[in-house]
């Protein structure tokens, strides 16, 4: 009698744990205080006069992660699946940056899909691996999950907005923010929007795959349409923002949508800090110190593109 009750309890607990990602979070494992995050490169912008090689990473993404306590490894495009699998097993998280490539046919999107699939599999097996998508990265994640492009045009090319936070939803991302900062986020124009496309709330709601996979954390409105500005996956450590937290401390082009207020800087830090604390739950590491050293972005020098450039510094890769 006791034993079968205990068995039932064990099964129930296991179920609850699976639902709350207990195993995936590796609760009993110590945190990894030396996280290394991969940042995916993308094809060079066609008329970029500073470009060399084939691909680039804007330095602001690197600084965004370093400033909250992680080291960075650039993940190149045009690599084999085996090479990507090898990198995946060495790093503790992946960031998909903003940009302007085709999120269904580019090398960026090919690599993103490979890592997305690897991450799903890993998380399912209890190997906690977080992914962060900013702007184009957000859009990329939506395409990967829905298996189609559901984006629509919005009037959001250069504007700083507050966030309309989804009420009564306890999110992992925003739970880590101080209350006063959330209050500021809800009323101050501190999230920079530089996108022509968005995932409308309508398209999200009408797509079963998206709805099942992602929880909406905040929306915004361009005057005509409501679109998703922040989301996180229900059952995976995947997070996405349509706005740009990395620009407020690290990009200085003077144009609409750009802000450097202290609150905006704090938002940037807490955003990055949260993602890195997720990466600390991953125990991957490079097979050797030498390989780790060779992979780090310290081996590369960014190019100064001028104080009026949309990216003040870019790393370029062959």
């Amino acid at each position: 009698m006791c034993r079968s009750a205990a068995a039932v309890l064990a099964v129930l607990t296991a179920l609850l744990c699976a639902m709350r990602q207990c195993a995936a979070a590796g609760r009993n494992q110590p945190l990894n205080y030396r996280p290394i995050i991969g940042v995916l490169a993308q094809e060079n912008i066609p008329d970029d006069q500073y470009a060399h090689g084939f691909s680039y990473i804007a330095a602001s993404y690197v600084k965004f992660l370093e400033g909250a306590g992680a080291r960075v490894v650039p993940v190149r495009i045009n690599r084999t699946e085996e090479e990507y699998a090898h990198i995946f097993n060495a790093i503790n998280g992946l960031l998909l940056p903003g940009g302007d490539v085709n999120i269904q046919t580019s090398q960026y999107s090919r690599a993103a899909k490979i890592f997305y699939d690897l991450a799903l599999k890993a998380n399912d097996a209890g190997d906690y691996f977080p992914i962060w998508g900013t702007c184009q990265g957000f859009q990329q994640l939506s395409v990967l999950t829905a298996n189609k492009n559901l984006l629509t045009i919005t009037d959001t090319k250069a504007v700083a907005l507050p966030l309309t936070l989804t009420p009564a939803q306890s999110s992992r991302l925003f739970r880590s923010f101080p209350k006063d900062l959330l209050q500021s986020l809800a009323v101050e124009n501190i999230t920079g929007n530089f996108h022509k496309w968005s995932l409308s709330l309508q398209n999200y709601s009408r797509n079963a795959k998206l709805k099942r996979f992602y929880k909406v954390l905040s929306t915004n409105n361009d005057g005509k349409k409501e679109f998703i500005s922040t989301m996180e996956a229900h059952r995976y450590p995947f997070y996405a923002v349509q706005w740009h937290p990395e620009k407020t401390p690290f990009e200085w082009v003077d144009k609409p949508g750009m802000t450097h207020s202290p609150t905006a800087i704090r938002v940037s830090f807490y955003t990055s800090s949260f993602f890195i604390s997720e990466a600390m739950k991953n125990q991957h590491h490079f097979p050797s110190l030498v390989e780790e050293e060779r992979a780090l972005i310290y081996n590369f020098s960014p190019v100064f593109r001028g104080i009026n450039s949309i990216f003040i510094q870019n790393y370029y890769f062959d």
């Binding site: 945190l31 030396r34 400033g67 306590g69 800090s273 050293e293 001028g306 003040i312 510094q313």
Partner: protein
């Protein structure tokens, strides 16, 4: 001197980093003295100009203010410590905006990296009139023998110093005693945020966009020195 004056009037704050040069006679010391005096003069006439000193920079400030060599050797090369806050932090500018939990963490966890052979003993500070009239001691630490000053802010000037290294928590990975916990990172962020907020009170700017552009560090690329040194990257000039 003229070049430094021009630069002073273009920037909004200055930071004296850690290192190992002489605080009595070196290129670093000479420049530090010039900027310190310019800052004192500017602040005195209402031109708010903040100065930050980390480790050697902190020691440099102590030397500039007291005009005496007053450091003691301590056994503090390569360890992380909590901070023993004094009563003065209640009204301090530096820690005013720190979340209460972070102050608690700083006081109980080893979040501050110490890699210095010399320190300013509390006794020395208290008995030196120039120093104790100028600086408010916000935290102290001890190596088991000597109680030394670890964090200060000037009473009447936006001049700040730490004997420890907040910048290492996020950015340096070559030594095992550098703390990287979320609280350690937050400490660094909040301190940097504080100093930058002080710099926002200054309205100096470069004479032209071109001059500003030429001066910025983006023009330089650091060398990856991590495998061979205590610094991941060093800018050489």
């Amino acid at each position: 001197m003229e070049e430094y004056k021009k630069l002073f009037n273009s920037i909004n704050g200055i930071l004296y980093p850690g290192g190992g040069v002489s605080i009595i006679s070196s290129g670093y010391e000479r420049a530090a003295k010039i900027f310190y005096e310019l800052a004192i003069e500017a602040n005195s006439r209402g031109d708010y100009f903040p100065v930050w000193g980390t480790c050697l920079g902190f020691e440099q400030l102590m030397y500039l203010t007291s005009e005496k060599t007053i450091l003691l050797q301590t056994n503090t090369s390569g360890m992380a410590l909590p901070l023993n806050f004094t009563n003065e932090i209640k009204d301090s500018r530096m820690f005013k905006d720190f979340p209460a939990e972070l102050i608690e963490d700083l006081a109980t966890e080893a979040l501050t990296e110490n890699s210095h052979k010399w320190s300013l003993a509390v006794l020395t500070h208290n008995s030196n009139e120039e120093l104790n009239m100028f600086y408010k001691v916000l935290s102290t630490n001890t190596d088991g023998k000597v109680e030394f000053v670890s964090t200060v802010e000037a009473y009447d000037y936006p001049i700040y110093g730490t004997q420890w290294h907040p910048e290492k928590n996020e950015f340096e990975w070559t030594r095992p005693y550098i703390p990287h916990s979320p609280s350690a990172i937050k400490t660094s962020f909040y301190l940097a945020q504080f100093f930058v907020s002080e710099a926002r009170k200054n309205f100096h700017k470069f004479e032209s966009e071109d001059e500003e552009s030429k001066a910025l560090i983006y023009n330089y690329n650091p060398v990856f020195t991590g495998p061979k040194s205590g610094f991941e990257q060093i800018y050489f000039f």
